[in-house]
């Protein structure tokens, strides 16, 4: 088990555990946004949204850039890709096990009945 990537994944998963943060990430997947535009759809105060943004920044999922007075936010793909890889491993594990189940039952049914 690769320990350091496990900690990165932990941060990613904690960040993803919140539905507001998930929607923020989905928004940013469509392109960079400034903070006020990003916060607009949410029925919560700007400080509350900022709190979520800080969690995402600490997890390395988003990056903040200053363009003059505006802060623009950008999705960082690398941690998401790691999370996607992790999900894929489990998916592959189960899919492959079910492949084996399929083959096994095919063989079982092909045997002459006693």
């Amino acid at each position: 088990m690769v320990k350091c990537s496990s900690r990165l994944l932990d941060d990613t998963f904690s960040a993803l555990a919140d539905p507001t943060r998930r929607r923020i990430l989905e928004d940013l997947a469509g392109g960079d946004r400034c903070v006020t535009d990003l916060a607009r759809p949410y029925a919560m105060s700007l400080p509350a949204v900022s709190k979520h943004l800080r969690v995402l920044e600490r997890a390395g999922l988003i990056r903040r850039r200053r363009c003059g007075r505006l802060h623009s936010l950008k999705l960082e793909a690398e941690p998401m890709k790691q999370a996607a890889e992790w999900i894929e491993e489990y998916r592959r594990f189960w899919e492959a096990s079910l492949d084996r189940l399929d083959d096994y039952l095919k063989q079982l049914q092909a045997r002459p009945k006693l």
């Binding site: 088990m1 690769v2 990537s5 496990s6 994944l9 932990d10 998963f13 904690s14 993803l16 555990a17 919140d18 539905p19 998930r22 990430l25 989905e26 997947a29 469509g30 392109g31 999705l75 793909a77 998401m80 890709k81 999370a83 996607a84 890889e85 992790w86 999900i87 491993e89 489990y90 998916r91 592959r92 594990f93 189960w94 899919e95 492959a96 096990s97 079910l98 492949d99 084996r100 189940l101 399929d102 083959d103 096994y104 039952l105 095919k106 079982l108 049914q109």
Partner: protein, 156 residues
């Protein structure tokens, strides 16, 4: 095929769904999952050897599956939570070598006559928001984000 190389603690609120139509009647499928002698024969993917499997198939019974891949030993352990013949099998799932919270695997079987629709759901323990809002699993969002990000990369 890479499997189980980065076994990390199972995150809360995580849901993974796999669905398959298996060309066998539901009772055969159910028995393949609930008879240890049968489980030993098919469980675990090709590049992973199933070295030892013990299972006490009853509610509250424990199982232990010792798998070996190129990267080492992976021992899955858990307890059976619910067993409804030909319909549903649910068990907790975690790894013996790693200290981590349990996850839950639920297998639902749908009788399609000579075939069976099998739906396997693997989920982390629900987090607070999950329980309150019944939010969908976030696997789709991760996959969506990565996909859209990669599409963006192609157009810039």
């Amino acid at each position: 095929m890479k499997t189980l190389d980065n076994a990390a603690p199972f995150p809360k609120g995580f849901k993974l769904n796999v669905t398959r139509v298996i060309k066998a009647p539901v009772d055969l499928v159910f028995r393949a999952w609930t008879e240890p002698e049968q489980l030993r024969q098919w469980f675990s993917p090709d590049e992973v050897e199933c070295r030892n499997l013990t299972a006490d198939i009853k509610t509250g019974g424990a199982f232990r599956i010792h798998m070996v891949s190129k990267k080492g030993d992976h021992i899955a352990i858990g307890k059976y939570l619910e067993i409804i013949p030909n319909k549903r099998l649910q068990f907790s799932w975690s790894w013996e070598n790693y200290a981590m919270p349990d996850s839950i695997v639920t297998i639902e079987l749908e009788d399609l006559g000579s075939s069976t629709r099998l739906t396997l759901r693997h989920e982390g323990l629900p987090d607070q928001e999950d329980a309150e809002q019944h939010t969908e699993g976030w696997t789709e969002i991760v996959e969506k984000c990565v996909k859209r990000f990669e599409e963006q990369q192609l157009t810039t």
